[in-house]
């Protein structure tokens, strides 16, 4: 009976939560406007008294590559390692979070032990104060504007503005060429719902900032809130 108890205690001890200790689970990076990739390291240590094995590394985006440096997956007590995450920035701008999830050898399928987050700050070169202009159905078709400012060390010019709908009049005003613009939008039809997808093409040399998109919408008020912007 004593042997059975001993075996049971060994088994139970082995199942207890051995884990890896990370110095940080959130790392923030501020990048240049033209950066295309970013790489961060998450150092960790096995501070338990048992070996720990990384069973699976998962990422939440195909734009992210994650690996345990050197391909080593089992760490003895006191041993250190690094999880490296490489992020392809693609067309992202602004603040973007990407996560890497680690399952250790005894984690349940839906309960990974570790979630690592890379928070990347990518400058917004073409800044607009609104993304969507809204009018209530049957309201007065008052013109509304989107303020567009260039936040870059050289001018970025607006080359073309196109709309998916002819039910809105679009007018671009240049306040300072390459620096400051206003986009004025006036709905021409207020009796029926309508939407325009407005694309703003610039001469920005960095692809991800070249094309901007805003919306103009005429629709019924949503419950509990009006949609008209004064």
């Amino acid at each position: 009976m004593r042997t059975i108890c001993l075996l049971w205690m060994m088994l139970a001890g082995g199942l207890s939560g051995a884990s890896l200790t990370f110095e940080k689970t959130l790392l923030e990076l501020t990048l240049a406007a033209d950066a295309t990739t970013a790489t961060v390291d998450f150092p960790f240590e096995n501070k338990t008294d048992k070996p720990v094995t990384i069973a699976r590394v998962d990422k939440t985006c195909s734009c992210l590559a994650a690996e345990v440096q050197g391909g080593k997956l089992t760490y003895q007590p006191g041993e250190k390692g690094v999880v490296r995450a490489a992020f392809d920035l693609g067309n992202f701008t602004g603040v973007v979070d990407k996560t890497v999830v680690l399952w250790l050898d005894r984690d349940q399928r839906d309960q990974p032990s570790v979630t690592l987050t890379v928070r990347v700050h990518i400058p917004v070169l073409v800044a607009m104060d609104q993304k969507t202009l809204k009018w209530s159905l049957d309201a007065a078709p008052k013109p509304q504007r989107i303020d567009l400012r260039i936040n870059y060390n050289k001018p970025i010019r607006v080359l073309k503005v196109t709309s998916s709908s002819e039910l809105f009049k679009i007018e671009l005003k240049t306040l300072q060429e390459g620096v400051h613009y206003e986009l004025w939008v006036t709905p021409l039809e207020m009796k029926q719902p309508g939407i325009a997808v407005i694309r703003i093409e610039t001469d920005c040399e960095i692809a991800r900032h070249k094309l901007q998109q805003v919306f103009a919408v005429v629709r019924r008020d949503l419950p509990g809130k009006g949609v008209t912007t004064p």
């Binding site: 009976m1 075996l7 985006c61 067309n91 979630t115 939407i195």
Partner: protein, 159 residues
Amino acid sequence: MNTLMRMTGIVALALAGAGVTYLVRGAPDRSVPCDPATLKPDEVCLARVIEEWQGDVLWVDARSRAEWQRAAVDGSLLWNIDQQEDMQAFEAEGAMQMMDGRRVVVYCSNENCGVSRQVADRIRAMQLGNEVFVLRGGWRALEVAGTKGPPTRSGAEPR
């Protein structure tokens, strides 16, 4: 030998107990737990979407295109953050579909997947005014719910 026989006896008893439990109580409950008290402010339980809102929401699938093509909520809109995808096309299609003011519910693979929250943030940033929620439990909750959940399609061509 004596020890081995005792251990075998214990395992046999445990298995017998498990079998009786299965017969009396049925199969284990594999549903994804969702306690409204533990929800984050932007999260919603599947039960609320189905019972309170009658499923009248715009479902946004934040998983990969391949997963969405394999199986998804019927009528769902693909909108992920894969860099091979055209984000502006997602926005344009999403804006069209949100015109009717419906609530938007975003799901990704499971409760550990953070993509749905990122997509939800992007939808909110469009400032269309629709309420946007993240589904607790993601696709796993929908899969487990089966006929109690919204209609799903499997292997069909995307819309």
